[in-house]
């Protein structure tokens, strides 16, 4: 073994998905050691939660996993509702399911686009994914008035009913997206170069995945048929028919494919939910005051894995402790082992396939 080269990958680097800093030890181009440094985006959101009322903290959950704000909102609101025993109307539950699944599609589209970008498919798949994403983001804009930090869910409901005509827009989108999925398969999934770059790269075994507490699509890509929406249904997920896409090997390609298949499953859920949406009033007013005691650990299936909120309340207007168990955090902890012995190009590929969002890792 010759002399090792230490390369600082990040915090400013095109493919570290934000401000991740990897200290790579290279032997030639082979990674022999990796040290991860986090915290460049640390805003101490957990401390902020202790100083805000339950409602006031909802906008801050947007800033965790900023690609799936709705799902974060949802996870937090569900946790607070369970902690403080707040009832939710059925219409609000259905709306939440639809919105959360739409956001899952958005998030996976970004994941697919950026993964292709990491593999060097210059911008084209990214732009296709983003122009699909744009349709949902526009929809969210008309529903809640914002394009990235939605702040839509409220404790006990949502902030406003969907405007008239939204159902038709969603139905059109489902039809359009199904066509697009075929295109993605042609452009990326079975592309020879894409396969060569991502097949058998960064294999995460079943046991390692569970040991690292990896969740979400990455766990499923490793062959564990586990989806919180199916195994421990929250909201009204038990009323819908959908499959859990599972990978076979647990390599980067599987992680990509599982995400692509999950888009299809999400579309199925949305299709069923939009047909069965009941009438009623989903809106919960902001000026309700919440206080209570107890503690709760509640997980929801985020696009990136299981987002857990551990809330401890001691009777005040604000929680005593709000631990956010972010999926990307645990997913990223597997990286150091995954990229050892791989090429630097493959390291980028593995990092891209893990699909991390620094906002929720550093919090």
């Amino acid at each position: 073994m010759g002399d090792l080269v230490t390369i600082n990958m990040g915090p400013q680097h095109p493919s570290t998905h934000g401000v991740l800093y990897l200290e790579l030890q290279l032997d030639g181009e082979v990674v022999v050691g990796c040290k991860t440094h986090l915290g460049y985006l640390h805003r101490s959101i957990e401390k902020i939660a202790e100083n805000r009322t339950y409602t006031q903290f909802i906008p801050f959950t947007d800033r965790l996993d900023y690609l799936a704000s709705m799902n974060n909102n949802l996870g937090y609101c569900l946790a607070v509702e369970k902690l403080l025993n707040v009832a939710v109307t059925p219409r609000a539950q259905y709306l939440r399911v639809i919105i959360a699944e739409l956001n899952r599609v958005v998030s996976h589209l970004v994941a697919i686009g950026t993964f292709a970008q990491d593999l060097g498919a210059y911008a084209t798949p990214l732009f296709y994914a983003f122009s699909d994403r744009e349709k949902i983001v526009e929809l969210f804009d008309s529903i809640c008035g914002s394009r990235l930090t939605y702040n839509y869910m409220r404790i006990g409901g949502v902030s406003g009913d969907i405007p008239a005509g939204t159902e038709q827009v969603i139905k059109d989108f489902i039809k359009y997206e199904r066509k697009q999925l075929i295109e993605y398969n042609e452009l990326l999934t079975y592309n020879a170069i894409f396969l060569a770059r991502s097949k058998n790269i960064g294999i995460l075994s079943k046991e390692a995945a569970i040991n690292y507490s990896v969740t979400g699509p990455i766990l499923r890509a490793s062959g564990v048929k586990w989806d919180l929406r199916k195994e421990e249904p929250y909201l009204v997920y038990d009323q819908f028919n959908f499959d859990i896409p599972v990978g076979t090997v647990g390599d980067s390609w599987d992680r990509f494919k599982v995400k692509l298949d999950e888009i299809e499953q999400s579309l199925r859920i949305i299709e069923q939910a939009i047909g069965a949406i009941p009438e009623g009033n989903p809106v919960s007013k902001v000026n309700r005051v919440f206080r209570g005691t107890g503690e709760i650990y509640l997980r929801t299936e985020n696009p990136r894995g299981e987002l857990g909120f551990y809330l401890v309340a001691e009777g005040g207007f604000n929680p005593t402790r709000c631990k956010i168990r972010s999926p990307s955090f645990s997913n990223l902890s597997a990286l150091e082992e995954l990229i050892k012995g791989l090429n630097i190009s493959d390291a980028v590929c593995v990092l891209g396939s893990l699909d991390i969002v620094m906002g929720e890792i550093d919090r």
Binding site: R52, T55, Q56, F57, I58, P59, F60, D62, T124, Y128, S131, E134, E138, D141, S142, I143, C144, G145, S146, T149, N151, S159, G160, P163, E183, E186, L187, L188, Y190, N191, A192, I193, L195, K285, V286, N287
Partner: protein
Amino acid sequence: MLFIYIKRIFIGFYSLLKGFKVTFKNLLKKPVTLNYPVVKQPMKERFRGMVDLYPDKCVICYQCIKICPTAALDLGHKTLEDNKTKNITKFTFNAELCCFCGLCDEICPTEAIFLNQMYEVSYFDHKDLIKIDLMSPEKYKNVDGGTS
């Protein structure tokens, strides 16, 4: 053996050609973007832009101040001699702290405070940004591209 080798190369090239087909199809499509500064998209009805105020409607209930997660709003009042009518002495908005969550808009009982449709926000002076006087009717006059 050689046959499989050649076949693999052919399948590889064929899969690449499929990708070319997709990009060619998109090459002929119309652009999905707008020629931005020339063509502008109208904002949605519920769009959350800058915080704005109808000073006449405000009843000085301090709800917006209480709910604001980042304390971006600052309100002061004085009670007149007759102990009934209140007057706003200052109502400022710190756009730097604001997270545009729209909670003040939602909680306001008289719909005095609201988020307008402005999205092109830029200032030349930092001081203008952190202390926007919501009482003044010309609060967003100097903002580039202001629509209010």
